[in-house]
């Protein structure tokens, strides 16, 4: 039996009044304990796919299975198992952070330890402030608490580090990695390739409603990169030599440079997810 948490087969979706499908027959699956990244430019269909998987959008064609059972067959109990972190703040601005969290907490049968989670992400001391007094970063961190509120088994996160400083982004990423280590599964939507590279076991690139690539970041980088080593050194002037990695151990020039020259830099031809994103989706990254 497959350990797939979600299996999606030929999924198609068109918004009402739209002639063209936003999602054009995509297929993928992700398993227990996996962080699956869904990457693509704005308007590619990332959020729509997420909305389909969390049952916010319903009239789709194709098949979506959750733990082997048709997603459409699940009732509201499905939402006790999943946690959703939205891209935009989703809280009552005139209530305090704690009032917001306590209200939503009561709607679930199972809870996480809110106090320790809020302490860890630095919101506990601000728990009695109204949301209208929160900065964007604080609101996003509270969104993250909201997503983990019901101690979910599957986490859907839409740009979880958006608007966060590096310190807080680090904390959020650490918690996501710990969630996976504890057996949790995550579906991560982001345009930050560095986050995807760091967090995801596998990523799918989506563009114009179609999946263009699915693989682990490492395999993608090997596949799209070059098996080369580029050496920059000083020899009276600045010199650059590029060597084929597969024949490197027999290359006398390489070893001669290593032994006798003043090296400035050495780079492998491995590419980055940013470059792959641009190649695969045909869209340049911004910000």
């Amino acid at each position: 039996m497959s350990d797939a948490v979600f299996q999606v087969q030929d999924l198609r979706f068109a918004y009402p009044r739209n002639k063209e499908e936003t999602i054009k027959g995509i297929s993928f699956e992700f398993s227990q304990g996996e962080i699956f990244g869904f990457l693509g430019p704005s308007g590619a269909g990332k959020s729509t796919t997420q909305k389909l998987l969390i049952k916010m959008l319903k009239d789709y064609k194709g098949q979506a299975l959750y733990r082997g059972k048709d997603l459409k067959a699940y009732g509201k109990e499905f939402f006790s198992e999943i946690g959703v972190g939205f891209e935009m703040p989703v809280h009552f601005s005139k209530l305090t952070a704690l009032e917001n969290i306590e209200f939503f907490k009561r709607l679930y049968p199972r809870h996480t330890d809110v106090e320790s989670l809020m302490k860890r992400i630095g919101l506990w001391e601000h728990r009695n402030k109204k949301l209208s007094e929160y900065s964007k970063g604080m609101k996003m961190r509270l969104n993250f608490v909201r997503a983990l509120l019901n101690d979910p088994k599957v986490l859907f996160l839409d740009e979880p580090t958006n608007g966060l400083d590096p310190h807080n982004a680090r904390i959020i990423k650490d918690i996501i990695l710990e969630f996976r280590a504890a057996g949790g599964t995550a579906f991560l939507t982001t345009h930050l390739m560095h986050d995807a590279d760091e967090l995801c076991d596998r990523v799918a690139f989506i563009a114009e409603g179609e999946i263009r690539e699915i693989d682990s970041p490492k395999n993608l980088k090997l596949r799209f990169g070059q098996r080369t080593i580029t050496v920059e050194y000083e020899d009276g002037e600045r010199c650059i030599e590029t060597f084929d990695m597969t024949t490197l151990r027999k290359n006398e020039l390489f070893f001669d440079i290593m032994r006798t020259k003043n090296l400035t830099t050495i780079h492998s031809g491995e590419t980055t997810l940013d470059d792959i994103f641009i190649k695969v989706t045909g869209v340049k990254l911004h910000g």
Binding site: M56, F79, I82, F86, P89, V90, F92, Y108
Partner: protein, 240 residues
């Protein structure tokens, strides 16, 4: 039912925090002042009209305003991914609006009895306030689905008031009583609201009362079903 109670308490808490309760109490003070400056003998006759405005237009607006706030703050999306269902959500919202109308009714009735010799069938009026308020809360929710923002909702309510509420008031006050208008009024929900309220103050034809009870009950159910069916689409779109 537990979750309806949690949602209901949340609704009531937010109506206070968002200043809606304050606005509602301010409106009640205005009604008290209106009753205060009217002739003592006419308070009982005027009472259905005061309640009519509060249970129809205020309920309509109250339900709409809370939904507009929730839409603007993207909170509805958060509701959509909880184990609560749409029925529970709409029921709690309707009950919160009814509570507000019942509080206003309680304050006005207490004032009327203590200071203005008000003589009405309190239980009958209370029942009328509850069903009318719930029905018009559903209309307010439906109107919000088609309103871009609060201003749009307010404009919608004004249009509703001119088309539906004003003719009913004119007929009630005997300002305009043409036969064609009183006949046309049978399709007007506000006419049936005022008939239900009047029935606890002075006699109304039994046939009219039955028609009005059935009309308001059907309006409540149809409004609730409509609000239910359109809810998910409204939330996913993030507004009208």
């Amino acid at each position: 039912m537990d979750r309806v109670l949690i949602l209901y308490k949340g609704e009531m808490n937010r109506t206070v925090k968002y200043g809606i309760t304050g606005a509602s109490l301010a409106a009640t003070v205005l009604w008290v002042l209106a009753l205060q400056f009217s002739q003592a003998g006419s308070v009982t006759a005027l009472f259905p009209l005061v309640l009519y405005i509060d249970t129809t237009l205020m309920s309509f607006l109250l339900a709409g305003v809370t939904l507009v706030f929730e839409t603007q703050e993207n909170v509805l999306q958060s509701f959509l991914v909880t184990p609560i269902n749409t029925t529970e959500f709409l029921l709690a919202k309707g009950l919160a609006v009814v509570t507000s109308s019942v509080i206003t009714f309680g304050l006005l009735t207490t004032y009327g009895i203590l200071f203005k010799n008000l003589s009405v069938n309190i239980l009958g009026l209370l029942a009328a306030v509850i069903v009318i308020s719930f029905a018009f809360a559903q209309l307010g929710i439906l109107m919000t689905y088609f309103s871009k923002d609060f201003t749009d909702l307010l404009m919608g309510m004004f249009k509703f008031a001119i088309v539906f509420s004003l003719p009913t008031m004119l007929v009630f006050l005997n300002v305009f009583n043409a036969r064609w208008l009183t006949t046309l009024q049978y399709i007007n929900p506000t006419k049936h609201a005022i008939t239900l309220l009047q029935a606890s103050v002075f006699p109304v034809p039994q046939q009219d009362l039955i028609i009005s009870i059935v009309y308001i009950l059907v309006l409540s159910i149809a409004g609730f079903v409509g609000a239910y069916k359109l809810f998910d689409g409204y939330v996913v779109k993030g507004g009208a």
